[in-house]
Assembly symmetry: D2
Amino acid sequence: MIKVSIIGAASYAGGELIRLLLAHKDVEIVHLTGNTYAGQDICAVFPYLQGGIRHEIIALTEENRAQIIAGSDLLFLIMPHGQASGMAKAIWDAGKKAIDIGADFRFADAGVYEQWYKVKHQSPELLPEAVYGLPELYRKQIAGARLVGNPGCYPTASILGAYPLLREGLIRDNSVIIDAKSGVSGAGRTPSSGNIYAAATQNMKAYGVAGHRHTPEIERILSDISGKPQVINFTPHLTPMARGIHSTIYADLRRSVSGQELTELYKNVYAGEPFVRVHDHGCWPESKWSSGSNLCHIAVTADKRTGRVIVCSTIDNLLKGAAGQAVQNMNLMCGFAENTALPLTPVYP
Amino acid sequence: MIKVSIIGAASYAGGELIRLLLAHKDVEIVHLTGNTYAGQDICAVFPYLQGGIRHEIIALTEENRAQIIAGSDLLFLIMPHGQASGMAKAIWDAGKKAIDIGADFRFADAGVYEQWYKVKHQSPELLPEAVYGLPELYRKQIAGARLVGNPGCYPTASILGAYPLLREGLIRDNSVIIDAKSGVSGAGRTPSSGNIYAAATQNMKAYGVAGHRHTPEIERILSDISGKPQVINFTPHLTPMARGIHSTIYADLRRSVSGQELTELYKNVYAGEPFVRVHDHGCWPESKWSSGSNLCHIAVTADKRTGRVIVCSTIDNLLKGAAGQAVQNMNLMCGFAENTALPLTPVYP
Amino acid sequence: MIKVSIIGAASYAGGELIRLLLAHKDVEIVHLTGNTYAGQDICAVFPYLQGGIRHEIIALTEENRAQIIAGSDLLFLIMPHGQASGMAKAIWDAGKKAIDIGADFRFADAGVYEQWYKVKHQSPELLPEAVYGLPELYRKQIAGARLVGNPGCYPTASILGAYPLLREGLIRDNSVIIDAKSGVSGAGRTPSSGNIYAAATQNMKAYGVAGHRHTPEIERILSDISGKPQVINFTPHLTPMARGIHSTIYADLRRSVSGQELTELYKNVYAGEPFVRVHDHGCWPESKWSSGSNLCHIAVTADKRTGRVIVCSTIDNLLKGAAGQAVQNMNLMCGFAENTALPLTPVYP
Amino acid sequence: MIKVSIIGAASYAGGELIRLLLAHKDVEIVHLTGNTYAGQDICAVFPYLQGGIRHEIIALTEENRAQIIAGSDLLFLIMPHGQASGMAKAIWDAGKKAIDIGADFRFADAGVYEQWYKVKHQSPELLPEAVYGLPELYRKQIAGARLVGNPGCYPTASILGAYPLLREGLIRDNSVIIDAKSGVSGAGRTPSSGNIYAAATQNMKAYGVAGHRHTPEIERILSDISGKPQVINFTPHLTPMARGIHSTIYADLRRSVSGQELTELYKNVYAGEPFVRVHDHGCWPESKWSSGSNLCHIAVTADKRTGRVIVCSTIDNLLKGAAGQAVQNMNLMCGFAENTALPLTPVYP
């Protein structure tokens, strides 16, 4: 039984972490922090929890930081960019474990991080210690890590979708184009003119075109897989659904290969993976197939007319794209069975 | 470990049953039946199950009926009205258990059933053996039953909302008005001009006004609680959401009572109930608070200006309104812990 | 050709006013005001207008108020409660016309207004001059008015639904219960934790139970129709759709009358009304039938078992419930054909 | 005043045609046909029309075909693929005008049509007479035509988005990738397991990957613009909204050009176009900006890191993508002002 705390619990990812951890037999929640709701019970934020958990939200301060860390074995960080890197340093120095659900530990190079995120990294010296928390690629390293940078939601779906192509050297360098669609919860719980219901419903729009911050994160890992630098196009779209990501990936094939062959390749690459499902050729995954579960669904084909490969990959942005993957990483880091407390079946429809 | 079968598995309630039963440690699924999909794997209906379960759907026929029953300890029936009453007879005679998710065993009087459902009941002699499967009112009887009529989704939310008022004799006879709103999955998986996306989204409409078949079911139980016949108004509305029921209940108070006092009463009545949450006065439940969970959320107030009580009650129509309540009944009938495999936390947002 | 200004143009009602007025051959828009967007073009708020209109939004100040009024023949007021009553006084004194889309001129009694709205009325002396802008009931008075209080969205649907019953004395006093459902645009454009997409989609909840401020507005008019005071229950519900209101009305009948007879009565009462459609008995209106149009759709029945009448009434909250009705009132006040620039056909689906 | 008929009126495109034509001062509707609803009034299909139009739907038969054509000046065809080509022949021979809203007259080559649509073309000899009804490219030819093939919804958004790039020779051959997202009404009014609300809401999925029939239609026109054959990738996605198309277009630039320069180019190309709006660099269009209007909104940028251009283009699939464009074509063919009865302002939000 380990003690965990959630820094930034009054968020959608925090809410899903609480749901998953309440069902995790090896975990006790000790602290929930949050500035806006400090002093209130977590049920004031998520009233559906009434009767299921009573837990005060506390503010994270200079004064209580050491104490919160001391009382925890592992901390989940859901903090503004640039703040998690400071918190993580204190956790590291205290010999505890941290999983950062933000972007502070997703890059090897602090310079790239600071260029795209426009904030200063507070502990660049920890970057070599941090592991990119995508178990399908870095399972062993995660198991031995004390600091994990939990991948972004778009990168999770996109990297899992592209990985076999790059690993096998099937596609031309710099030919990857990722057209991704996300539900609105990806933008968080803070109200804005863009995420209010009347503006977002029955609507589809691109944003961050040619400049979204998940671009260098995806490029880092695709480069790592292929062994040489890769630049990509990544275009996210706001989609009228509460949760879910659908990533459509295009790339130029180096040689002729059929959709059936590609499907076989994908099935082999992901054989044994508990949270990746490769579907038969011609069966295209739906974002809702992952709703509430930790699964990534993938299908692939080739277009002989154009010589391109097309991959579709879907996840729940709050599960495999955030809280679910964080629990998967925690399970690996703590020696629990990797699938503990992680739903395989979506809540459908 | 008991063996269960689902008759009519290729339905939304069937899908949710499969999700819940896959996580139930005391249950093994032995047969899934369905006419439309007979011969295909259940993954052809719910492709998200691929990799999680492989199970052929078989047609239910005169020939294999006895064998299916013989191989099962308990059967869930999701069948057209009038057919379950025949199937249940065969199950009863074989000494097995049945939970009918349809309406065939929700009435004490076959005449009322036949008048509202316009089909003949095939085993009226079993009606005295059948228990109305609402554990909060009939827990003991369910635990001893071999045949349970699982309540309708609207009746579950509405009866739980009105029960304390009638039990305590607080309201005038025949003064109950129920204005209920349901998500579209309540209409099932069969495509129709009314449930296609473009027709149902961004839309609200009443249906079955002054004639919906859940009316006599609610009246039967409210009459049972109050000890005298009750007629009510019940108006369902199709609401643009996949799942969820919100029931708003109005009644004339016999005497002046405050919203605070009513809230206390409700909290007392439902103290200890694992799947009912009464919220503080002024905190109105949302249908989504139950999404994917087996909980019923309730709040109540009184309007001094008009002398009426107003109750709001929400459930997930596929969980507490169908598959979840069925599993809760199974747990009671089979001596398992009542809350086994039943989610308490919704998938939110 | 009259000159009109919109005070508070950067609102959803303002946006719909602009859409309607751009197609109105007798109207020229002279001023658009708004504090948040002052100095920007209206296309910064509604980018879809680019190429269709260019018009700077100006702040409304003490300094420019007289000038704005002097340059306008008629002003539409979309202002916070309590502020319109001050603005309207200045317009009145300048001899110009005003249509207040807020609540400041919906009451005969400033005391009732101040009790429910918790702000001071700045020009109670104008209340006797103001006409309640529901043309189906007060067409003549509107045509002769210089100051109109545009009805609330819920009251418009609810009063039109109940009017024939009260006019004909068919129902018992104080027996009206209105259960209303509204799309999220009714809450305006200001972001909040309650109207963000992820919170509002796939969800249904009641609010303002036994205390919503449209209650006394409806009661005022129902009392006016029936000639004696009426108290009612009114419960609004937030519904996952951008626009639309569905109002379900219950009342106790004084005498036995069939649904068919009631339908005939309604058809007679509303014969010749350009924006009310009474549907055949058994055909229940859908909120989307009014989407983008100025129509109110109504159907009615009687429940012989309980002795109650049930009415369903639908409108578009931004058209007949706000901007459309305001233009209808303007047409009457200015001697234009009543239906000028008002769409009859919804944008469906 | 011309007489028009709609063959296949009980469709979503038919409903929108009726809405637009009812507001068109130069047009009289003479016949509405439909097999499913033959003998019923159009109000049985679209009850919101009650009080606005009464018009019987008749079956189209061998017997009455000549008479329907004789009584009409122009016919809109909304028919299954392969049937319009027969009907159009009869219309042509009678010397009347036809606008086919299906695919039968979108191709120069009957072989390509038959290969992708798997039905026989009944009047290939008419293909040289048919004009592709995209006014922004073929205005003059449309004005002189008696037979117009109204473009598909995806092709309209995609071709308008790509046109300036190809006209100016800015992109590499065969480098166009179109990732398009459509609302569910694009699939029509016929209920199916894929378009029911519970399946389609809160969900995103690709379909027709590497094989959708709009691919050759787009290729035909892009080839026509560029003067040489172009093959493309086109991937449509079903998006949870009733209407709207968002097309995201990628292509490889031949030379370095800035987003600002591309925006200027687009503004020049579409200057004076009544139904195309090019937005400032950095302002990305939303599908809802076109909802209920005939406008196409476009924005463009270049990604210097990858050397690609990205274009986003949005329309309402039922307006500029079907009924609106059909009316625009009718206006041109009949010498009416091109923008008659075509809304410029969307119904927003």
